[in-house]
């Protein structure tokens, strides 16, 4: 009997890129549901819009570059990028924000750098930074979380759709439904020399981080831990980021709790948890070796805190990730494991 010769290994592969990406998407669901609970269906609409734009643009770019469409579209990497981006923008941001974002992510950050696996910068973060710089006003319009405004004021599906497509309906005003985020308040407060305890009087603060935000972070962490357990991501980056944030902020808080927020506050506000588990762990733009991953995480933590404390933006996660993306190849170079039998 004749056979076609197959190459080793003769085992079904343990993993595929699309399996990895699908599990990442699955792991995001608890956090997404928490966001919907606190901020309304706008979150889902943003996700849907971004995915739509991302897939269309991915398709167009593959076509233009003469690449096979099916395997690359079904790797779901564009979908993950789209979701991560959508989770970073205000739930009622106008539709063209996600269009601009996805052009930046898929066309510029991904395909102009050579497509999947070749990009240097995290596409979702490139997209976020582009819209943050280009449309600062739209990007600050975060809704007040459930519990802080009257439930009737929380926009429903139709209202959300309408707002995203054609702007806020006449019977609503941005002032009534939006609120500064905890990180904004913290930054302003510290700049005005307020005590942390004073700043934390504001109703947006919860037990550790921002109200609502801390729950969302919990649910993202849950998904992230599941990913670690499934070995989709390794523990190194998330642990490095969170441990570094604690270790850096702990001494300051111990020294002077009145002007330095408790470490947990840093972790549970903004996009830090989302970043630690889902954004900084993007393999393409991160480090490959274990030691490299730890250094990468440490770098993200330091840069995030630096930007939060002294930079012009309340949350530095996106900038921190992009900066570390630049260093990733260098870190990988200097954290090369020692090959078997070679001198130590």
């Amino acid at each position: 009997m004749e056979f076609s010769r197959s190459g080793a290994p003769h085992l079904p592969p343990e993993n595929t890129v699309s399996k990895v990406m699908l599990q990442v998407i699955l792991a995001l669901i608890p956090g997404i549901l928490a966001m919907v609970w606190f901020f309304g269906v706008g979150v889902l609409i943003q996700i849907a819009l971004s995915i739509l734009f991302a897939v269309l643009l991915e398709w167009a770019m593959l076509k233009l570059r003469g690449k096979p469409i099916r395997p690359f579209l079904s790797d779901y990497s564009a979908v993950v990028t789209a979701i991560l981006f959508a989770l970073c923008i205000p739930p009622l941001a106008p539709w063209w924000i996600s269009l601009v974002g996805m052009i930046a992510a898929i066309v510029v950050a991904k395909h102009l750098y050579g497509g999947l696996g070749q990009n240097i910068f995290n596409p979702a973060m490139v997209a976020y930074v582009v819209v943050l710089i280009a449309f600062p006003l739209e990007l600050t319009r975060w809704l007040a979380p459930r519990g802080l405004i009257d439930v009737e004021l929380l926009p429903g599906l139709l209202q959300s759709l309408q707002t995203i497509i054609s702007g806020l309906p006449a019977n609503l005003s941005w002032d009534a439904i939006t609120q500064a985020t905890p990180l904004d308040l913290l930054k302003d407060g510290v700049e005005q020399n307020q005590m942390i305890s004073e700043i934390r009087q504001a109703p947006v603060f919860g037990n550790y981080g921002g109200r609502g935000w801390e729950w969302i972070a919990n649910f993202f962490a849950l998904g992230g831990i599941w990913l670690i357990w499934r070995r989709v991501i390794s523990w190194h980056i998330p642990v490095a980021i969170i441990a570094s944030v604690i270790m850096i902020t702990l001494p300051a808080w111990l020294y002077d709790p009145s002007s330095n927020p408790i470490p947990l506050q840093h972790i549970f506000s903004g996009a830090l948890v989302l970043c630690a588990f889902f954004i900084a762990t993007d393999p393409v733009t991160g480090c490959a070796s274990r030691r490299g991953k730890i250094i990468f995480g440490l770098g993200v933590a330091i840069l995030t805190l630096t930007i939060r404390l002294w930079g012009g933006y309340p949350d530095g996660v996106a900038f921190a990730v992009l900066l570390m993306n630049m260093f990733a190849p260098l870190i990988d170079r200097y954290t090369r494991p020692r090959a078997y039998g070679k001198p130590r």
């Binding site: 009997m1 004749e2 056979f3 076609s4 010769r5 197959s6 190459g7 080793a8 290994p9 003769h10 085992l11 079904p12 592969p13 343990e14 993993n15 595929t16 890129v17 399996k19 990895v20 096979p68 395997p71 690359f72 790797d75 990497s77 497509g115 999947l116 696996g117 070749q118 390794s234 393999p283 393409v284 733009t285 991160g286 480090c287 490959a288 070796s289 274990r290 490299g292 991953k293 990988d332 090369r336 494991p337 020692r338 090959a339 078997y340 039998g341 070679k342 001198p343």
Partner: protein, 535 residues
Amino acid sequence: MDHSSIENIGKHLHNFPGGLKLKHYKALSCSKPLPAQQLPLSQEYIIPVSQHLGRPAEIIVSPGQQVKKGQPLSVPGNASSTPGAYVHAPTSGEIVAIEQRPVPHPSGLNSTCIILRADGKDDWIELEPVTDYRQLSRQQLIQRVQMAGIVGLGGAVFPTDIKLQGGAGSIDTLILNGAECEPYISCDETLMKQDPEKIIQGALILSQVLNIKRVLVAIEDPMDACYQKLQTSIKTLGAADCIKVVRVPMLYPEGGERQLIQVLSGTEVPAGKLPVSMGILVLNVATAAAIKDAIIDGKPLIERLVTVTGAGICEPQNVVARIGTPIADLISFCGGYTPGIASLVMGGPLMGIGLQSDSLPIIKASNCILALTHADISSPQVEMPCINCGDCVGVCPAGLLPQTLQMVIRAENFEALEELNLDACIECGCCDYICPSHIPLVDYFRYGKSEQRVRTVERKQSDLAKLRFDRREKRLAKQQTERRARHLKRKQALAGSSDKKDSVAAAIARAKARKQALTTTPRDSDSNTDSGEQS
């Protein structure tokens, strides 16, 4: 190599980096005892003459000749720089042809095979058993190993006599490798269960050959039955003071020579060196058993245990098969293929070779014939770009960066491979298996290694050429100065007597002409000067 870790070898176990925990599928083939009846004689045996690592053998039979079972068919050739091994007739019969046939080899190319038609009598040549091998000298023992055509049966097929010869006096530990770590393969486990005494006897012979007091038999942790059986044989043979059985945790590629040494001793074999340099020799347990057969019974290596397994086989089991048996005969002995059969592999699922046909023969390296169904191999995967996930880095037991290597090879930047230590890659396939992008990493590495070899040869050649060129330049310069000196001397001598002026002028003219010839036709001058130097 510091001596203390060798002293403590096997006492504590150590870890090696990376590795894979794989589903092992061993029960499939080794839950049953060996079949009671022998594999029936095949009609025709296909015996490749180079089944070992090294130079091809010299064929000493010709078509039409009758041979007996165990008669040598080919002997190692004369070039003493490369190893070679004897090949013997697996049964009695007639040599019908010597021709090129496809053989199990990664290249898929043909190779010279001796075709033997069995006469059904299965007549042995006269064997020369020895009653007390202890009377034999070291050289005699090694010679018997060589004449029996014994090669490493773990799959590396390096001629064993050369390993033993090379280890003369410098070895102090022998490791018998029974840690069969690749999924599906269970022939060593079966051997240890069925014939533990053979292995221990082989070990005792080897300890005499090597003049050592320490033999470790490494088996995998879950092999309880083997452990008991080996221990019992060690006791009955009174070898407890020099042979120890060590259980190592089950982790692929634990059974790799270098990984096993690392696990047992905590030290690595230095790059570019062999385990012998640390005083360690590693042989497969099946090789030890074959050595017992060769020394005590005088039987050459003409059969081996083969695991026939996989979901594509009706009755998976371990079978004693003669070298040269067409694989198809083995398959039908095991009940034939199941309907889903999709591919045939020699060896395990991680390092095995895909076979193009079951008409290929069993060779000395065939530890396993693996028949896989469509479900086992799944549809051919599209190769995606590397996403730098680092999974391959995490599983590599050699501490390499497969993703970087892959990139460098793709870019044909072969110079960078040395710095990235491609030579340390043992082609275990861990990275390849784990890669979510299904990049055929090991294929890239084999290609990279062969390119590296080509480059080394080229570099050597160009270095040699440069050396020759430099030497010749020097020689020419030296000659010129000598000639000038001679010339000067003669001129001074002649300065007194002017009557010989004519002949001097003629001589000068001759010398000038020669000098011209030297500079214009360097090739000729090269040979001239060579002879000139000698005179």
